[in-house]
């Protein structure tokens, strides 16, 4: 192995650690051995080999791929076929010809062709100049600029025409497949731009900023549409994981008490010697859960995610009731249970079918809590855990702490989950600190934090 390689590998490991992957020294050594065993000639094999030794769980692969592309780029500078192309052509022409090339690649559905077009597109359209010289700050290659000029979505219709529709039944899939390829093309442009930028700028810096975080570490309040979709996909696996963790905890709890009758019965097969003792199983009562969610625009994503999660965990509770509010509280349990159709439309369904904002569209926590107590107070009993979700931004209206005290007094346990960063509680119209004196308030910005809180809440 040459001198520079270990350094490059260690730098890459550092970058991976920066993105929350736990990579120990032994993994790094494994990766180096993998590099030695596989030759460096084939980049695909190298990528897979390093992934096998450095990645430890399923969700980390995307982060790894992005970092790998920065540290072990495909090449340096423009690709060979672009260098041969005429460099002096007008940008206007190149947009046209690039689109033609893209149409062609989409029509053939070939990944290699898509990659080539992405490379040429970044080369022709993506350069950003900032300051003097190649090392100056701000200069680099921008995927956004490339995509804005190229507008790949405009090629879908032409690509469909050029591709010629498939025969019979599968014809209906054509449009979807071309769309997916366009999405893939966007990702390729992004990778290419990152690669080129990493050459002119500090590699470690690019690795830090150009890689999207894991779904579980995305903040609810700032999640993009794609990330929200990705989050939703994690609900089922997360619920399953929480449920398993729980049943393991339950089992451990039960261990210890010997069931005399069954132990004696068992010992009969060994001539009365109690070789394998039998233990007692205790049945634990499952608690009831009441979920009280702010569904106003700012925190709707968070509330929706938590509702889905609780719904997926419903067999862990004897009863789950879900209430939504903006400035008035209404029960939405039915709307969520019948939510087999489309979780994406959950927020709209609640807004359309539940009476959550009868007077005006802005949040009013005090009035909502009061209306909850007066209409559904009976829903809370001594075995109920209450979970309140919201950012406690009440538009400077009366917070009505007494209503909250009433809820806390009746319930077995009450938690408030706030999707805002703790440092922002109490700023502006937030009344979080006042509520936090009455109820246990937790910061809950990411799926990681949410699953922590929910697993503490679950019965043992």
């Amino acid at each position: 192995m040459s001198e520079a390689l270990p350094a490059r590998l260690v730098a890459m490991v550092e970058a991976l650690r920066g993105h929350g992957l736990v990579v120990g020294t032994s993994e790094t050594v494994d990766a180096a051995r993998a590099m030695e065993v596989l030759s460096l000639a084939d980049r695909t094999l190298l990528r897979e080999g390093l992934a096998a030794s450095l990645v430890r769980r399923t969700g980390q692969r995307r982060v790894f791929d992005a970092v790998f592309d920065v540290y072990f780029p495909l090449g340096v500078g423009a690709r060979e076929n672009d260098r041969e192309a005429d460099a002096a052509s007008e940008p206007q022409d190149s947009v046209g010809s690039l689109r033609d090339a893209l149409v062609d690649a989409l029509a053939r559905g070939s990944s290699q062709a898509l990659e080539d077009v992405a490379a040429s597109a970044v080369e022709a359209l993506g350069q950003v100049h900032g300051g003097e010289g190649p090392g100056a700050s701000g200069s680099g290659w921008s995927a956004r600029q490339t995509l804005e000029q190229l507008r790949p979505q405009t090629t879908i219709v032409r690509a469909l025409a050029a591709r010629g529709s498939s025969e019979g039944f599968v014809e209906r899939l054509d449009r979807d497949e071309v769309r997916r390829d366009v999405e893939r093309f966007r990702a390729l442009v992004q990778t290419e731009a990152t690669r080129r930028t990493a050459e002119v700028r500090d590699r470690d810096r690019v690795a830090r900023y150009a890689v999207r975080p894991d779904a579980e570490q995305v903040e609810f309040l700032s999640a993009s549409r794609d990330q929200v979709l990705e989050l939703r996909r994690t609900v089922q696996p997360l619920a399953r994981r929480l449920a398993t963790r729980l049943s393991a905890r339950r089992r451990r709890r039960n261990r210890g008490q010997v069931d005399i009758r069954r132990t004696l019965r068992r010992s009969m097969s060994y001539g009365g010697v109690p070789l394998s003792p039998a233990y007692e199983h205790r049945r634990k009562a499952r608690p009831e859960l009441v979920l009280l969610c702010d569904v106003s625009g700012s925190v709707a994503g968070f509330a929706g995610f938590t509702m889905l999660l609780v719904q997926a965990l419903r067999d862990q509770f004897s009863k789950v009731r879900v209430f939504a509010f903006v400035n008035h509280t209404d029960e939405v349990t039915e709307l969520i249970t019948s939510g087999e159709a489309d979780p994406a439309a959950l927020a709209e369904r609640i807004m359309a079918n539940a009476n959550v904002a009868p007077w005006h569209p802005s949040s009013d926590y005090g009035r909502s809590l009061r209306s909850f107590v007066s209409r559904y107070g009976a829903a809370i009993g001594p075995r109920t855990s209450v979970l309140i979700l919201g950012d406690a931004r009440s538009n400077h209206l009366d917070p009505d702490l007494d209503a909250l005290r009433d809820i806390v007094g009746r319930a077995r346990r009450t938690f408030w989950l706030n999707p805002e960063h703790e440092s922002r509680w109490g700023l502006g119209d937030s009344v979080a600190p006042a509520y936090a004196q009455v109820v246990d308030m937790h910061e809950c910005r990411t799926v990681d934090q949410l699953s922590g809180v929910v697993s503490r809440l679950l019965p043992v």
Binding site: E27, D30, R33, V37, E48, L173, R233, Y270, V273, E340
Partner: protein, 292 residues
């Protein structure tokens, strides 16, 4: 260092001969697991061929497969070894008049030891492939047990001492990620995530497994399955479902896909009623009913 495979291509070729078409990532990781002598932890959705991979490797290397199926509550006695208590009691009763020392020395010997999968794999005279299936189903305590086996290929039996493997077995652990495996276990393994294969590979897999299916049908079948994987389903159809579907179509004598056939056979691909409803909507199968 064991060398079961000569190169990554060698892995691909030899597995392909047995009907297991490996993607580059699978082939590379198997090759590395062989060269670095490390166990292989395989994760991925159900039905993409995790267990099948272990079988194929076993067959390709000519090593018998020893399988430990994990489940909730699997314990030392089921995974490692157990003393045959009943036989020991018989031995004690039969040997009346013996001194205690003689009896004691005798009942803790090989003859009274019941070897379970892990011990079998370690003690074997011939090379073995060890498959620890669905390790996520087992309890945390079992992982601790596995650590010694996986890092040193050794098992300590207090009465007999430490038994070390003559041939380090090629070890595959599979997991469906129902629970987080401990960091210690993950660190001892190479990690491989098998995802749904890309369409070209899946087409080849379907045609290898179901030789009667022609190229056009295989291609369109894979395209439909891929379209279904992109929509939000409770259980996305896996490779094994694609293969089952191809078999079904073959049995029905359908040589092209049309609405009627797809509608009738969607149950082979999808296992939940609401998934089927959503798929019918997505593939515009219901409109045909309306038109009729």
């Amino acid at each position: 260092m064991s060398e079961r495979f000569a190169s990554v291509e060698d892995v691909t070729d030899r597995l392909a001969e047995l009907g297991y078409l490996a993607s580059p990532s699978v082939a590379t990781t198997v090759f590395l697991a062989d060269r670095l002598d490390k166990p292989l932890l395989v994760e991925g959705p159900a039905g993409v061929g995790k267990t099948e991979l272990a079988r194929a490797v076993a067959q390709a290397t000519g090593a018998d497969l020893v399988r430990l199926q994990c489940y909730e509550g699997v314990d030392e006695a089921r995974a490692l070894y157990e003393w045959n208590h009943a036989k020991q009691l018989l031995r004690i009763t039969a040997g009346r008049g013996e001194t205690w020392d003689e009896t004691r020395d005798d009942i803790f010997t090989d003859g009274f030891l019941l070897a379970r999968p892990l011990l079998q794999a370690i003690r074997s005279e011939t090379p073995r492939t060890l498959l620890i299936d669905e390790v996520d189903k087992a309890d945390m305590e079992i992982e601790g047990l596995l650590l010694e086996v996986l890092s040193d290929y050794a098992i300590t039996v207090p009465e007999l001492g430490t038994l070390t493997a003559r041939h380090a077995p090629f070890t595959v652990l599979t997991s469906n990620a129902t629970r987080e495996l401990s960091e210690a276990l993950r660190r001892r393994c190479l990690f491989l995530h098998i995802d749904f294969p890309d369409p070209e590979l899946e087409e080849r897999i379907v045609r290898t497994r179901v030789p009667g299916v022609d190229e056009v049908l295989a291609a369109s079948l894979v395209r439909v399955v891929n379209a279904l994987r992109r929509i939000d389903l409770r259980k996305a159809p896996s490779v094994s479902e694609s293969i089952d579907w191809a078999r079904t179509l073959l049995a029905l004598g359908a040589d092209t896909l049309d609405e009627a056939v797809v509608r009738e056979t969607l149950g082979v691909l999808l296992k939940h009623t609401d998934d089927i409803a959503r798929a019918r909507q997505h593939l515009q199968l219901d409109e045909a009913d309306v038109r009729r």
